[in-house]
Every structure is written in structure tokens, then in C-alpha cells.
Amino acid sequence: MKLWKWFIKCPILFLLLLSWFGLTAFTWSEGRLPEKLDVNLIEHPVFTALLEPKEPDAVLNDLNEDLDNNSDDLNATDKPHETEETVIAAASASQNAGKETADAKKQADTSKKDSLNEKEEVGVTKFLEYKKKKTDSRYYADPGKKALTTEFSYQKVDESYFDDAVFIGDSRTVGMQDYSGLSNAQFFAKTGMNVYDILEDEFLTDPKTGKEASVAHMLKTNKYGKIYFMVGINELGTGNTGTFQKAYERVIKKFHKWQPDAVIYIQGIIPVSKKKAAEDEIFNNININDKNVAIAQLADGKDIFYLDVSESLTDKSGHLKADYTSDEVHMYAQYYKLWTDYLMKHAVVRK
């Protein structure tokens, strides 16, 4: 029987067979995959490679360019690294094994200087040291210390403090939007949001024009008094702590550029539960702590503060309390109040 007649008889079979063969051949021949996806080829055929627009680390190359390009105009409005920095309590300034960027290293070594105005208080971000654990992940390393909330004379405030506040972040911030009860604040939050896309992704609607808008647009065209930022849980398996810190720094610098009078709160990534941490190579609390230590170093104690908001959400070993969550990552609705309470107890009030 002629081959085309066979095809007409059972097209699905033939098409699937052909495509299977083609996919497999492509997979084996292309060789693109093994270094990018360190998952077993047998489980993930070429699909994930075919459908990803770029290699994930390529995103980070763009960031490097951006950071270099922006450093010039940033110098005009920002205080550069050398004059404003945080002090790390540990004298020896232990580093991540090759993961910290040169900038962060500089911050660790130089000492604190007084700010321009003597009367103006400058917060200090301290770190609590502990014994490092051995890790063999290419995404993170145990930093050997935990970041503490920037020391500052915070005030206790009520909900009205958040009238001009904006919360920017991922699904945890979506939870804040839903359950914190802060109906007066703005929320720019989306599940799955990450630090690489946060500024440019147009997931918001500008209430003035009714059109789609990005966080960058909203920050450029409105005035806010406080910016609360929390991302990180979705980036745990992309790049490494150094690339994360770089991207985070870029975002913070933009925030400060567009809202020079606003207080920027870097909120530490809320940990995952003990169960998740124990069984997941990427979504565990050593990784999260590593990222938190990296971003805490970006706090300058004047406009940018680091807040460890998970204080009342975690148990003694730093895991998210098991009965506070059903999916090991997000809290039940009723516990977002604890987060809000923490924010209301650690507010920077400017005269």
C-alpha cells in the first residue's frame, strides 16, 4: 500500500511519530540543553528549550550593560557607594565563596562615615554570625550570617501611615494586598514577579489613562512617600546570589531615582517552611538567607532600610512556622496581620 494511503488512514499516529522522532533528533543533535538545564534529558525534551525566548542567564547580561550605562546619571542623584555604606559587625567580613560582587566586597571593607548632615540619623544594618554549612549549589552558598533589621529609631504608626505607601512585589505581596487590610495603600504585585522583570512588565493599569502600565511608569508619574519591596522567592533558581544582588541594586537605584524623597524598605524574603527547606535543593532557607544578606547590604540607613519582616512568622530555626502555611511557601490569610504589625512597629517617620 502506498505510504500516503497509510498516512490518511492514521494521521495522528504518523504525525506524532514523526514529531517525536524529530524532537528527539533535535534534542540529541543540538546539544544546547545539557549545560542550561541540568535536568535529566529523559524527563525534559527539547520543549523547554524551544519555548524559552533566551537562555535565562542572557537576561543578566542585559542587566550588566544597564548598570554600567546608568552609573553616570546615577552619580548625579545618588550618593555613590564609597560615601554611604553599611557597617558589617563581623570584623573579618567573611564572604560568599566567590559569589559576592566587587561592590559588595568594598562595602564590607570600608568603614562607616558620617552623613552630610550630622544631626540626621543614619541606620546601621548589622549581621548575626553563625556557623556556615557546606553547600554545593551553583545558585547560592551559605553566607555564615543573617541580616538584621537596620538599626534606627523607628516609630510606631497606625494604618494612616500607609496612605502614600506602595507595596511592590511577588505573590507574597499579593497576599498583603488581599489580607493585610491596608486598603489605603497601593499595591503593584503579581504572582511570579521577579527582580528582573519588576520594572518593565506592564501588568498594571494606570488609573489616570486606563492603559496598561509598568511599575516604572507608575513610579515616574506619581509621588509616593514609602516604597515597600519584596521579591526573591521566584529567583532562587536563576543565576546566583551575585547576579540577584546586582539586579536588585539596579531596581533600588531606580526607585530612589524616581522617588528621591520616599523611604525605601527592602523587606527580607520570607522563608519557606521546614518541610520545604529540607526537601528542596533550590527553595530552601539557606538560599533565601544568602539572598537576604546580599540585599541587606544595599540598605544605606538614610533612605533605604532593610526590614526582617519574618520575625513573628518564623520559628526558632528560622523556618516559616509549619501551621502558618498550607503550601509551605505562602501564609494563611490570617497571618498577614503579623507582617503588617511588624511594619507598623518599624516605620521611618520624617519631620
Binding site: 506524532l16 519555548l51 489580607y179
Partner: protein, 463 residues
């Protein structure tokens, strides 16, 4: 290995079917058996020995049963087999549950908890083996097949892990000789594609919403969201299980087996009685033929009938899981079935709308009982459904509107596929180009989702 995984679709399936179709016909059962062993061993490398042992032991039992003609001896052999089979099931699935409850009653740690992992598919293959042994005992099968045929019947990978629960007579002729045509393979692939779609494109997607509802915490739900959650779970479990059964039937078809239908649009019936004739039909059949009827069914008076039903439904509930909420679930159906039988069943069947509304309210509630294992949490959820809020409701109307916006379309699609329309349309356009394109589209969409998503639970998997 799950059917809806890339590993199965792109590696096991092509390689297995390649070997299968290249093998000359007399050896195909062997290839099927060995392939099924590989399939099982990948998911359960240790307990495979248990399954093989169970098969072998039961086969010996059947050989003896076939030879033995004295009634009393036959009975004792049967009892031995039942003890063996259900004993294994009890040990691996129910012992810890039993021990916990005994310890609770006795107020001391009398029995240790064994902490054994549940062997894959044990609930399903045990029932299949039991049905085989019982049929041999009853003389339904004059000549039970060879060891290889029996082993293939039990282990056949399409129905090994999650049913349908096949009776031996349904496949006995096909085990001996089966006709393969390209059309059959094509048809099997079609059914497989649609089953895959039901699982990946419907069940997995709607499970995201159910997980969100769980993540809020039942204590703080609003009533509309609680109901949405119940509906979501109802859709999830239906498309999950129906999709899997369709995939099993499709795979069987590709090899020439006609596996029995397991679902017949159960959400479109008008009473719970009818529901259980259309939901997990092979399980209902098992309990009817091997428990209810041997006990006497409804031929020993009303009171005895109720006792039989009580037993059947407690066991049905317990079969689904070693936890009291499953027993409660089963007994809930017992109550409803008795009420329908004696009071309003016929009224429902003759009604035009009320029967449907009744089912659409009752069934999601029963699924909530099935879904929530912890009793205090279950009580909270049922209160939310009824509008009783003990804790503050933290879900705002804005959030509800957002959920409807996000999942409304998915719910509508699920509703459409719960009706009889898709099947009717399918039978009209079968064999045409549209079906081919649809099947391929569904297939590739599902593969795309699988490649991207991490979310792929299979609810009946740990069975």
C-alpha cells in the same frame, strides 16, 4: 511513572510500542508483561517484588481451585486467598490507621506504627486479583488462563496503577488473540490525547484555584469562594480520574484490548443513585458483584438490604483512603442512597430541573468531605459553605471578582465538558480531519503545559 508526564509520553510510550509491534504475535503478552514491570518498577522499585509475589501466590491458589471439586475444600482455599490478599492490603494501607485508633481507644501505645509506604496501585491490583479468584471459585471461568495471561491481566500497565478495575472475562479472549489494525491504534491514540487533555488542561488548571483556596485557610473564606472551591475540587477530581481512565482505555485500545468504560457523564444525572452508576463504574461493579450480591443484596428483606448497603458504602469510603473522613464520605452516600431509595428517588428521576440542582449541590459538598482529611478543618469548611463564619472573613469582594475574572472561563469550559455534548459531538465527527487536528492540538498543548508546569498531582495515585 504517570501517564501525564513527559517521561512516559516521549520515552516509555514510543519505545514500548516499538518493541511491542516489532514482536511477533505469540510473544506480545510477554512483552506487555515485561514492559509493565518496567513501568511499575520505575515508580516503585522495591514493592514490585510484593506485587509479583501476590500474583504468583494467587495463581497457585487458582490452580488448586480449578482442580479441587469438593465444596468445603474450595471454600477454605478461597478464604485463604482472601486473607492473603486483603491481609496485604490491610498491612500496607490500613495498619497504621488501625493502630492509631486502637491506641486511642486503649489510651496507650499498644500497637507500634509501622510507617510503611503504600505500594503503588495496591488498591487496584488487589481488587483485580480478588475478582479473578472469586470468578474461578464461582466457576464463571472454566479454564483460567496461563500464568503469563493472569500476570499480564493484573500487571497490564494501562490499568495497573489506577484502574479501570477489569474483570478477567473482559480481556480473556483478547489475551489469547487480539486483532490489531491501524484504525484501532489511531483510535486509541485519539482517546489517549483527549484523556491527556482532560488531565493536564482541565484538572491541573482548576487544581491551581483549589490550592489557592486551601492557601487562604478555611477559617477565613467567604461563602462564595468556599463554594467556588468546592466546585473547583469537584471538577479537578472528575477530570483527573476520567482523563486517566481515558488514557488507560486509549492505551489498551492501541494494543487491541477493550477496557471497560469508567465514567459516563456522572455530573449530568439526577440522583445520587444514578451518580454511582456513572462514576468509577468498575469500582461500583466490583462492590456490587463481589460484596453486595454475595451478601444477599436486596433479596433478604429491607433491613438486611440496609445492612448490606451500610457495609458496602463504609468499605467504599475506606477503600479511598485510610482516614475517618473517607468513611464519613462513604456513609454520607449510604444515607443519601437509603433516603433516595425509600423516599424521593423516583421524584428526582422524574423531575426536570430539581434533580440536577440537587445533584449539583450535594455532590460538591460530598467532595469537600472527601478532600479535607482533618475533621475540625472539615467542620470549618462546611460551616463556610452554609454561611456560618466563626472567624473574620478575610476574602474581600474585590478578591472574589478577581477570582471570577481569572477562573471564570476555565469553570465554563469544565462545565461544558461535564455534559454529554462533547461525547455526542465526538461521535458525529469521528474519523474526520477536525478530530485529528483537535487531538493533535490537545496533545501539544498538554505537552507544553507539562514542560512548563511543576503542578501535576494525580489524586488517585497513592492508591
Amino acid at each position: 511513572m504517570v501517564f501525564s508526564s513527559l517521561m512516559f509520553i516521549f520515552r516509555f510510550m514510543p519505545l514500548f510500542f516499538l518493541c511491542y509491534f516489532l514482536t511477533p504475535k505469540p510473544f506480545r503478552n510477554l512483552v506487555l508483561f515485561l514492559g509493565s514491570i518496567v513501568f511499575y518498577a520505575v515508580g516503585e522499585p522495591v514493592y514490585i517484588v510484593l506485587m509479583l509475589f501476590t500474583i504468583f501466590a494467587n495463581f497457585l491458589v487458582c490452580v488448586h481451585l480449578a482442580r479441587e471439586s469438593r465444596a468445603r475444600n474450595r471454600k477454605s482455599i478461597l478464604v485463604f486467598a482472601m486473607l492473603l490478599d486483603f491481609g496485604m492490603l490491610f498491612l500496607f494501607k490500613y495498619f497504621d490507621f488501625f493502630a492509631q485508633n486502637m491506641n486511642l481507644i486503649l489510651h496507650k501505645e499498644a500497637l507500634p506504627l509501622l510507617g510503611l509506604t503504600l505500594p503503588l496501585g495496591i488498591s487496584f491490583y488487589t481488587f483485580q486479583i480478588v475478582s479473578y479468584v472469586c470468578d474461578v471459585y464461582r466457576g464463571k471461568m472454566k479454564h483460567p488462563g496461563s500464568l503469563l495471561e493472569f500476570a499480564t491481566y493484573v500487571c497490564m500497565f494501562p490499568q495497573l496503577i489506577a484502574g479501570p478495575i477489569v474483570q478477567y472475562q473482559e480481556v480473556s479472549t483478547e489475551l489469547a488473540w487480539r486483532k490489531i489494525t491501524l484504525q484501532e491504534v489511531e483510535h486509541g491514540l485519539e482517546v489517549f490525547c483527549f484523556g491527556l487533555g482532560a488531565k493536564v488542561l482541565l484538572a491541573n488548571k482548576v487544581s491551581i484555584f483549589w490550592n489557592q483556596v486551601q492557601g487562604i485557610g478555611y477559617a477565613n473564606l467567604s461563602t462564595p469562594v468556599a463554594w467556588m472551591g468546592a466546585f473547583a475540587y469537584s471538577f479537578q477530581i472528575y477530570f483527573d480520574f476520567w482523563g486517566y481512565s481515558l488514557m488507560a482505555i486509549g492505551l489498551g485500545r492501541m494494543m487491541g484490548f477493550h477496557l471497560p468504560k469508567n465514567f459516563d457523564s456522572p455530573y449530568m444525572v439526577k440522583s445520587v443513585t444514578q451518580f454511582w452508576r456513572n462514576w468509577h463504574m468498575t469500582l461500583g461493579r466490583f462492590f456490587r458483584e463481589y460484596v453486595y450480591i454475595p451478601l444477599g443484596g436486596n433479596r433478604k428483606g429491607r433491613f438486611r438490604m440496609m445492612i448490606h448497603m451500610f457495609l458496602v458504602w463504609s468499605l467504599t469510603g475506606l477503600w479511598h483512603g485510610a482516614s475517618w473522613n473517607f468513611v464519613l464520605w462513604g456513609l454520607g452516600f449510604f444515607v443519601l442512597l437509603v433516603l433516595e431509595k425509600f423516599f424521593y428517588g423516583r421524584f428526582l428521576e422524574r423531575s426536570k430541573v430539581i434533580g440536577h440542582l440537587y445533584l449539583w449541590i450535594v455532590i460538591p459538598v460530598t467532595w469537600v468531605i472527601f478532600a479535607v482529611t482533618d475533621f475540625s478543618q472539615l467542620l470549618i469548611y462546611l460551616q463556610q459553605l452554609a454561611g456560618i463564619h466563626r472567624q473574620p472573613v478575610l476574602v474581600s469582594t474585590d478578591q472574589l471578582v478577581r477570582y471570577v475574572h481569572e477562573y471564570g472561563r476555565l469553570f465554563l469550559i469544565c462545565m461544558f465538558f461535564s455534559t454529554r455534548l462533547p461525547e455526542k459531538i465526538y461521535h458525529r465527527i469521528r474519523g474526520g480531519l477536525v478530530v485529528v487536528l483537535l487531538a493533535l492540538a490537545v496533545f501539544w498543548l498538554s505537552v507544553y503545559e507539562l514542560a512548563n508546569g511543576a503542578n501535576n498531582p494525580f489524586l488517585y495515585f497513592r492508591f
